[in-house]
């Protein structure tokens, strides 16, 4: 079930094209990662989804309907460039922003009470924002984003400005929101969190979408048949292994030998192990799966180059 769809989005600015025919498809209840280096067009796309700017070409659909202004009340947005009125009191400000999202005052008060208790912010209601620490301000910002129970949440670099403890709290909250049925689009450079959180991704580079799909599927396509092997014992490995296997790297460490071996087509890890079993004591053996980070860098620099090196 698709909650949000963008088809052939084109956005041109006076000097450059920010988005060239970008299409994305976000399924309901998933976490969708929008990745790409700086200047790839992520923020342009996010602003279009939030109806802050309009695309020059292309169509957008929210729950099957063409995107319209009233949809903003069903969307929550935490921008990368975020902040609050510094001179305004915390509670007053949260109420104001909630009312702008269409909540009634009473409703907003009730919900704010819940979230302020959850994040232990009750004592700060009447303090000015400038008196709060940066982490606390970020928490307020997060509360304001999710307060109106949006069906679609958009987080642009949500973890910047948080310390590791708060990053974990935030991750938990994001997963919690997902568990409650919200769909999340989330843009980041932090590839570790992409692997941890995202179900699907789209990778943008130079205004174009160059890769998209399910995270696990993508990883599989980037499998390179490389395995990491650690064994104990003395052995001239090159004499034992035939052309089915290729040793890429070997490091000796206190009696343990650590190797990276590529298994060529037509063979299997089992064959490799059966060759070695009679010679050495195997400590560990595992497939080397490319991280999202590798895939990201590879795609953004040059796809072919990556495959050649592999």
């Amino acid at each position: 079930m698709t909650i949000f769809k963008a088809e052939n989005i084109v956005k041109k600015y006076a000097n450059h094209v920010a988005l060239k025919n970008v299409s994305i498809n976000v399924s309901e209840g998933s976490i969708f990662g929008l990745l790409g280096p700086n200047g790839a067009g992520k923020t342009s796309l996010i602003r279009i989804i939030n109806q802050i700017t309009a695309p020059d070409e292309g169509t957008l659909f929210f729950k099957g309907e063409p995107l319209k202004p009233s949809h903003v009340e069903l969307i929550g947005y935490l921008p990368e460039e975020r902040g609050l009125y510094k001179k305004m009191k915390v509670g007053e400000q949260a109420l104001y922003l909630a009312q702008l999202k269409g909540l009634s005052r009473q409703d907003a008060l009730k919900k704010l009470k819940y979230w302020f208790e959850k994040f232990e912010l009750q004592g700060w209601w009447n303090k000015k924002v400038e008196e709060l620490s940066k982490g606390m301000q970020q928490k307020i910002q997060f509360i304001v984003t999710v307060l109106h129970n949006p069906q679609l949440l958009i987080f642009d670099e949500p973890f910047s400005g948080f310390d590791p403890i708060n990053v974990n709290i935030l991750k938990e909250e994001i997963l919690n929101l997902k568990a409650h049925g919200a769909t999340i689009i989330f843009s980041t450079h932090n590839m570790a969190s992409v692997e941890e959180l995202c179900d699907n991704i789209a990778l943008l580079n130079k205004s174009e979408k160059i890769l998209d799909g399910n995270v696990n599927d993508i990883k599989k396509t980037y499998k390179t048949n490389k395995y990491e092997l650690i064994y104990n014992g003395t052995l001239n490995i090159k004499e034992v292994l035939d052309s089915r296997f290729e040793v890429l790297n070997q490091i000796s460490d206190a009696g343990d030998e650590k190797l990276t071996i590529k298994i060529n087509n037509g063979s299997s890890p089992n064959e490799l192990l059966s060759v070695l079993l009679s010679h050495v004591l195997i400590v560990s053996f595992k497939e080397v799966i490319p991280s999202m980070n590798d895939i990201f860098i590879a795609n953004v620099t040059d796809k072919n180059e990556f495959l050649q090196n592999a």
């Binding site: 802050i52 700017t53 009125y85 510094k86 922003l97 009312q99 702008l100």
Partner: protein, 446 residues
């Protein structure tokens, strides 16, 4: 629409609750009241009583110098100047006026002796009295009758009459119109600057605090801009009303607390109260009497005030204040959106402030010729019309001019708002980029 009201509410309350607003609201009326009250007290203080001893060697001036409430003359007969000087006691006399024999032919030998510097008022009064007496003496000496001379003396004070459309002749008061016009013109100028700058600072604050993107994901940039402009306008109106109410309150309180200091003013007030019950015909008579005969200064002021159409004045002040503010506030909002901090606003402020400053510079010229072509054009062009039209209105403006000016001003602020909205919606999302005019031009074409 509901969201725009929420924005207006926040913009209004956050400003009205500010300390600076409260301080300004209290200080403003205190200053204005002080301007009205202090001169009265100052005048009272300088009116100390002076007794001047007169040593008159010619004996021509004895008992002839006119005394006033504050200046008394004490003629020391049979005493020469050196005795008078020796006996001078600053408890009984404040100064000695010495009139030597030579004074008639050589007035420069006249002396006013005192142990302290006599005030300008005293000096000028004594001078005028001596001048009058010496002139009288000389007139008599050359055989000219003083009465004849008095009958020849003519005072010319041109009374200007305005012919209105209804064919009624109205006495007009250019002096009062001038004061009223320039006052309202300057008020509008100040308000546009003060509150236009507030809008600009508000926009810059939203940009630098980075809250802008959060807000525009909930409302349209145009709603946010209009909400801010309207909210600040309401702040301006609130401040203006509070100033008027508080000023009147302070002035009235001081008047009631020190009635004797304001005697003269009260007299004229009574006069005002009286004349209200006078029926129009009688008023007309008084007017005619004044036109032909001697002019009573107080009734003159009274009639001058009555000659102003306050309904039109107040309506046009409110209209030109609001419309002028709306026109400029939109431009100020656009400037705020185009820059990252207040220091960068200079280059864009220039073209916006120049028409305003130009209008104030031209004010004098317009007052001298309130129906000339310059006045006409400047009161039609929306950028200068809020100030120039306010200066013209007390002089009476043809209906056509007024209607054209109002229509063009409304069109003008719709245009600047449209223009500003285009710059605004792009500008607010641009961070850390130095903007120039070329860039602005591009934003307009997005």
């Amino acid at each position: 629409m509901k969201k725009i009201l929420i924005i207006i509410q926040r913009e209004y309350l956050s400003r009205v609750k500010k300390k600076s607003f409260i301080v300004m609201t209290i200080l403003g009326p205190l200053l204005m009241a002080a301007i009205m009250i202090v001169p009265v007290f100052m005048a009272q203080m300088s009116n100390e009583k002076n007794t001047i001893a007169v040593v008159d060697e010619t004996l021509l001036f004895v008992e002839r110098l006119q005394e006033t409430e504050f200046i008394k003359f004490d003629y020391l007969l049979g005493k020469d100047i050196s005795t008078a000087r020796n006996e001078f006691n600053n408890k009984t006399h404040d100064a000695i006026l010495y009139i030597p024999f030579s004074a008639i032919n050589t007035p420069s030998t006249l002396r006013l002796l005192s142990d302290k510097q006599p005030s300008m008022n005293v000096k000028m009064y004594v001078e005028s009295q001596l001048k009058k007496e010496i002139e009288n003496f000389k007139l008599n000496a050359s055989g000219i009758d003083k009465e004849v001379l008095k009958s020849i003396e003519t005072k010319v004070n041109l009374t200007t009459i305005k012919i209105t459309d209804e064919g009624i002749e109205e006495k007009s008061y250019p002096e009062v119109a001038t004061v009223l016009g320039i006052f309202s013109g300057i008020m509008i100028y100040m308000f546009i600057f003060m509150f236009g700058a507030q809008v600009m600072r508000g926009v810059i604050e939203e940009k630098t605090s980075r809250i802008i993107e959060v807000i525009v994901s909930s409302v349209k940039p145009f709603q946010l801009m209009m909400g801010k402009i309207v909210g600040v306008a309401l702040v301006g109106l609130t401040q203006f009303l509070l100033w008027i109410v508080l000023t009147l309150l302070i002035v009235t309180t001081v008047k009631t607390a020190f009635p004797e200091q304001f005697e003269v003013k009260q007299a004229s007030q009574l006069y005002t109260a009286d004349s209200k019950v006078v029926d129009p015909e009688q008023l007309q008579e008084i007017q005619e009497l004044n036109i032909t005969g001697e002019t009573d200064a107080r009734s003159e002021i009274l009639m001058a005030i009555q000659s102003i159409d306050f309904g039109v004045m107040i309506f046009s002040f409110l209209f030109y204040f609001l419309a002028g503010y709306l026109l400029y506030a939109a431009l100020f909002a656009a400037i705020g959106a185009a820059v990252d901090n207040e220091a960068d606003t200079q280059q864009f402020m220039m073209p916006v402030t120049i028409p305003l400053i130009f209008a104030i510079v031209m004010a004098q010229f317009v007052m001298n010729n309130p129906n000339g072509p310059v006045a006409f054009w400047l009161s039609i062009i929306p950028l200068t019309s809020p100030i120039i039209m306010m200066i013209r209105i007390p002089f009476g403006v043809p209906f056509f001019d007024l209607a054209l000016s109002i229509v063009l001003l409304i069109a003008g602020f719709l245009f600047t708002t449209w223009l500003a909205a285009k710059i605004y919606r792009t500008g607010i999302l641009m961070y850390g980029k130095k903007t120039n005019y070329k860039e602005l031009w591009k934003w307009l074409r997005y």
